[in-house]
């Protein structure tokens, strides 16, 4: 075999008591797409960061084409042809897309930054790889999905010979993800080595050549993708098979050790939840949540939501799909009380949602660092938010409550007193879910619940959502994973340019129909008595 393009040898890394990597060996050939999978907190991001010069390893070293590297900072890594797309964005909020992409390797003309050239090359790259971005837009104004695309453009622009992608598709739409993998294959064909960290095993099997599985910081499996099944990977990852495939979580969740038994309504065992009659609401109203002709304007006075009406019954999960920036965010903001509507109403159990954050709605935001957590606060403090009541607040109570949630939702954290920023991406997401799902509210609004969480946790989260539904809560689920929507939702709403372009029972929500509605195609069936105008 030829000399690997890059090789990690015996990498060990500890953070205090946590051993994130424990003697990891990993080699990537030239032109190979090498996937790295593992549970949340298995040490994937840490390994990639070491390779990229962000962390010095405690032991072990990195070889590039057979030569030992001294990686003191990313500058050294970049100098050796490495490029990385981070799980957490590293973008300059006040600069434009083009500036973000070229910074550090700027096109110059007569000693001066050549903005026109920068925009052109960014536009060209974006077109070539089918990534939809406006090179002139300010990063701070862009939705997360678009930001992710900018991160990818940055790596492409630098023509890295070894490209590290840490969960690049976590916030991409399926179309975009497909585009990304086409691009990855193309790059590999050009001789680029790609390290791909992801939780989506279908992506691994489709796009990867080989897979390395990490568990608790150690390598627990190495597979060629050919002839390997998702189940093989899962077994290496979590040491057992999944009881049910994630896509079938709609069925009553199988009992696994990690599941919160308290949340499981006893009546559901063996009975398909969809067949269950929704429990009655006080006052006899048929709907938990009613949205009537809602209109929201954004900062510039442009209609972000232009007349949306729908309702959610108790015991129903309603999915929301749509390309990023179609008004989902504003809609959710109004439903949670975080934003005032321009006109229209949102009723929750017959009473309007109002003013400040409405505590009757549990809400899992899609923007983890921006809204759902305070990265520098402790895990315990993060788990408390929304439930702070009364006046006195003993640290024992806070930590005790946190410890219970950590236990119940199997969040991997060294200590509940450490900043949540030290948690791995997926564990932070689990913490947010734990906090919101543990609250007993009539309505649950969830954005991208499984973004960045491992397959085991995905299964668990889906089960929890189903349990919430079975408990009679109304669940609104916004997700860019169509499979997730189909697996969980009873109905799927599609938004396009601030309006509902579809309201389909799940059985009719095929990829084609959803895709059409997401791009504004009309002719979609609407339930009687409701209108989108």
């Amino acid at each position: 075999m030829s000399v690997p393009a890059v090789e990690l040898v015996g990498i060990t890394k500890r953070f205090g008591d946590v051993t994130a990597n424990d003697g990891v060996d990993l080699a990537v050939e030239r032109g190979e797409v090498h996937a790295v999978v593992g549970e949340n907190g298995a040490g994937k991001s840490t390994l990639m960061s070491i390779l990229y010069g962000l962390h010095p390893p405690d032991a072990g070293h990195v070889l590039r084409a057979g030569t030992r590297l001294r990686l003191r900072s990313p500058a050294d890594a970049i100098a050796h042809g490495l490029g990385m797309v981070h799980q957490r964005f590293r973008l300059f909020p006040g600069l434009s897309v083009a500036e973000n992409v070229v910074l550090g390797a700027e096109p110059m003309r007569r000693g001066v930054l050549d903005r026109a050239a920068a925009r052109r090359s960014v536009a060209d790259l974006a077109e070539r790889y089918g990534l939809d971005v406006d090179p002139g837009a300010r990063i701070g104004d862009l939705p997360v999905g678009t930001r992710q695309r900018v991160e990818i453009l940055k790596a492409l622009y630098r023509r890295a010979e070894v490209l590290i992608l840490d969960e690049p598709t976590a916030v991409l739409t399926p179309g975009e993800a497909a585009g990304l993998f086409r691009m990855v294959r193309e790059l590999a064909a050009e001789g680029v080595s790609v390290l791909l960290v992801t939780h989506k095993l279908d992506e691994v099997l489709a796009a990867g050549d080989r897979v390395t599985v990490l568990r608790g910081g150690r390598v627990t499996g190495r597979f060629p993708t050919a002839g390997t099944s998702a189940d093989d990977l899962v077994r290496a990852m979590i040491g057992r098979s999944l009881a049910t495939a994630p896509t079938t979580a709609k069925k009553p969740p199988a009992t696994t050790g990690a599941l919160p038994t308290a949340k499981k309504p006893p009546a559901t065992t063996g009975v398909p939840p969809t067949a269950k009659k929704p429990p009655a609401i006080a006052g006899g109203a048929p709907y938990r949540l009613e949205v009537r002709d809602l209109r929201v304007r954004d900062r510039d006075g442009v209609a972000a939501v232009g007349g949306v009406s729908f309702s959610v019954r108790p015991g129903e999960i309603v999915g929301i799909a749509g390309v990023a920036g179609s008004g989902q965010r504003e809609l959710v903001d109004v439903m949670t009380g975080l934003r005032r509507a321009h006109s229209g109403t949102v009723l929750l159990d017959g009473r309007p949602v109002g003013g400040a954050r409405d505590r009757r709605v549990a809400y899992v935001p899609g923007d983890r660092a921006g809204r759902a957590t305070a990265p520098d606060m402790s895990l315990a403090d993060n788990l408390l938010m929304g439930d702070q009541r009364g006046f006195l607040l003993g640290p024992g109570r806070v930590r005790g409550r946190a410890a219970a949630l950590v236990e119940r939702f199997s969040i991997r954290a060294a200590s509940v007193r450490a900043p949540i920023a030290q948690l791995s991406g997926g564990n932070a997401q689990k913490a947010v879910l734990a906090r919101e799902l543990s609250r007993d509210t009539p309505v649950l609004v969830v954005e991208e619940p499984t973004q960045g969480v491992d397959v085991g946790a995905q299964e668990q989260i889906h089960a929890l959502l189903a349990a919430a539904r079975d408990a009679g809560r109304a669940v609104l689920l916004q997700s860019s994973e169509l499979s997730e929507l189909r697996a969980l939702a009873d109905r799927v709403l599609v938004m396009f340019e601030g309006r509902l372009t579809a309201d389909l029972p799940v059985a009719e929500a095929t990829d084609e129909r959803l895709g059409a509605a997401m791009t504004g195609a009309t002719g979609v069936r609407r339930p009687a008595g409701e209108s989108t105008e």
């Binding site: 990639m48 921006g370 929304g386």
Partner: protein
């Protein structure tokens, strides 16, 4: 190539393990060198520094300076926990002081010292609270507005002391002596250590408790850590911003009142701002680096340095410029030592 490396690294780690010690030792070495260079005998200066802070009856001055500095530290720290910078301490101090003086004079002492203190705290709170709507409604950050409001407030107090409330026939711009009933009771024999000390101590403890063990304290911390997160969690962001600024301002005003109601029992123009309590306090809070419990300690450190500096001037005959040089250097070095304990590294990725 690789054999000497681990040893070098081990040594580096050993040193890095005790950076606070190393930098403190470095600090002392450096200041000693500076002393020698400028002709001060360190053998006289250091003991004089300590004596100036603790002995020969100096302890009461150190305590007397500790009280206002600690009060101003809390005045800065409360809004700081919520992510707001209160740089208007001088204005709150002066306005509180002149309000206390005006109340004591106009009531002829009928309100004892309690009414003037309440008035002082309210005046400071109102001034600081002005910055809240400027931030939440107009987007003008408190760090700017508090600073811009500070000088006018100091000027206003100075104007009042110079004209309407002025004592006649003296060379200084000052109010007349305040009525006896309004004087702060002293603790023990000293005139400098008054009940201001237990008052500020109790209030500080209350703040520390509120910060660590109450819902508002938690919400304030969350607000400071991530404003959007707090809003998402149902925190009344605007109201809490105003509340923290007002609470900080109240501390500032209260300290002004305490100074005026203590010796020399009048508002002397410039006397409240001249000692620079505001900035010493800010430095102390920043030194505490987000650990509220450390604030009383860092305040003590800087106060001792200042009180001791005076003693050093008097007793070792060190001229005041040299005291400033030594203090300046020590502050720089303590700032380094405070963080040298390797900040918790943020995770990447």
């Amino acid at each position: 190539m690789s054999s000497p490396e681990p040893r070098a690294r081990a040594v580096a780690r050993l040193i890095a393990g005790t950076p606070a010690v190393v930098s403190l030792v470095g600090a002392l070495l450096l200041t000693t060198l500076v002393m020698l260079a400028v002709g001060v005998d360190p053998g006289l200066a250091y003991p004089a520094l300590l004596r100036g802070a603790f002995m020969d009856g100096n302890l009461e001055y150190t305590l007397a300076a500790y009280v206002p500095t600690l009060g101003m530290a809390v005045a800065f720290a409360i809004p700081f926990r919520a992510g707001e910078f209160n740089l208007g301490g001088d204005g709150q101090l002066a306005l509180g002081g002149i309000t206390a003086a005006a109340l004591a004079l106009s009531t002829g002492g009928a309100g004892s010292f309690v009414l003037p203190l309440i008035g002082a705290a309210l005046a400071g709170a109102l001034l600081a609270a002005l910055s809240a709507p400027l931030h939440t409604r107009l987007g003008i950050p408190a760090i700017v507005s508090t600073l811009l409001l500070s000088v006018p407030a100091v000027s206003l107090a100075s104007y009042l002391a110079r004209f309407p409330l002025a004592e006649q026939g003296t060379g200084l711009a000052q109010t007349p002596l305040l009525p006896l009933a309004a004087h702060l009771p002293s603790l023990g024999a000293s005139t400098y250590v008054t009940i201001g000390l237990p008052l500020v101590a109790v209030l500080t403890v209350l703040w520390l408790l509120a910060d660590a063990r109450t819902v508002p304290g938690y919400e304030i911390r969350a607000l400071g850590a991530n404003r959007e997160f707090a809003r998402y969690g149902g925190v009344r962001v605007s109201r809490l911003t105003a509340l923290t600024l007002a609470a900080g301002g109240a501390f500032g005003g209260l300290v002004g009142g305490l100074i005026v109601l203590g010796a020399p029992y009048r508002f002397v123009d410039g006397a409240l701002t001249a000692p620079g309590y505001t900035f010493t306090a800010i430095a102390a809070v920043l030194l505490a680096a987000g650990r509220p419990l450390a604030v009383p300690v860092t305040v003590a450190l800087l106060t001792i340095l200042q009180a001791g500096g005076q003693g050093m001037e008097r007793e070792a005959g060190v001229p005041s410029q040299l005291t400033q040089i030594v203090q300046g250097l020590i502050i720089v070095i303590v700032a380094v030592a405070a963080v040298a304990k390797a900040r918790p590294s943020r995770r990447p990725a």
